[in-house]
Symmetry: C2
């Protein structure tokens, strides 16, 4: 039996509004000790993702006061609680990314799955 995303996902995920600025995103990432922030619209639907990678770009472009919607990735690669973990892992590898927002049928945020969570599937000898 192939495990499902719901068995290893994190339900406690920090997110951000599309109207926030990049500096606010940096603070949320640091306070949340995470590299990924799903971006939500007024209806709480996932419309993008902004990561420490995108925030680092702002250092070079010197646009830290711009809105996150200027630097976020809009074509979000996501997963669902019922998806098989090997399919989710393929999405991470093929796109060179390290997190997938977990969403419901309406596109609302349920949690997040990171590469590190895949470790939960390995037999525990410790």
């Amino acid at each position: 039996r192939t495990p499902r995303v719901m068995e290893i996902m994190n339900r406690n995920v920090t997110c951000i509004s599309q109207d926030a600025d990049i500096k606010t995103a940096a603070k949320k990432l640091l306070r949340g000790e995470t590299n990924h922030l799903p971006v939500l619209n007024d209806e709480n639907k996932v419309v993008g993702i902004v990561t420490t990678y995108d925030v680092s770009k702002a250092i070079i472009k010197e646009n830290v006061n711009d809105s996150v919607s200027m630097v976020m990735s809009k074509n979000v690669i996501s997963t669902t609680p019922g998806e098989a973990v090997d399919i989710a892992a393929m999405k991470l590898e093929r796109n060179n990314i390290s997190a997938l927002p977990v969403i419901d049928e309406e596109g609302r945020l349920l949690g997040i799955l990171t590469g590190t969570d895949l470790g939960k599937l390995l037999g525990k000898r410790w």
Copy 2:
């Protein structure tokens, strides 16, 4: 048989000298499409790690021209090619990090293991 780190690690890893500044680190991270840079001293030994997380901190502290050795993590959690992958995965989970530099007995850099690489251990149905 438990798989070893050498079976899933990346041998092609971008790194940076301890004398470089944070802005240079940001450029290397972006060009390398990665979130992690092992930091090397003059003898090519790993003395730290700087990530997009650390670079994002520099946005808030406004110290982007400082040396990477001011913001890197000096107590590097690493792995070796012969380590069992479940032990390496434990190190990622327990420390809330997403990459382990792979080093040899003298502390020289051989590669890097990320959470996403753990996906290579899942059966491929695609």
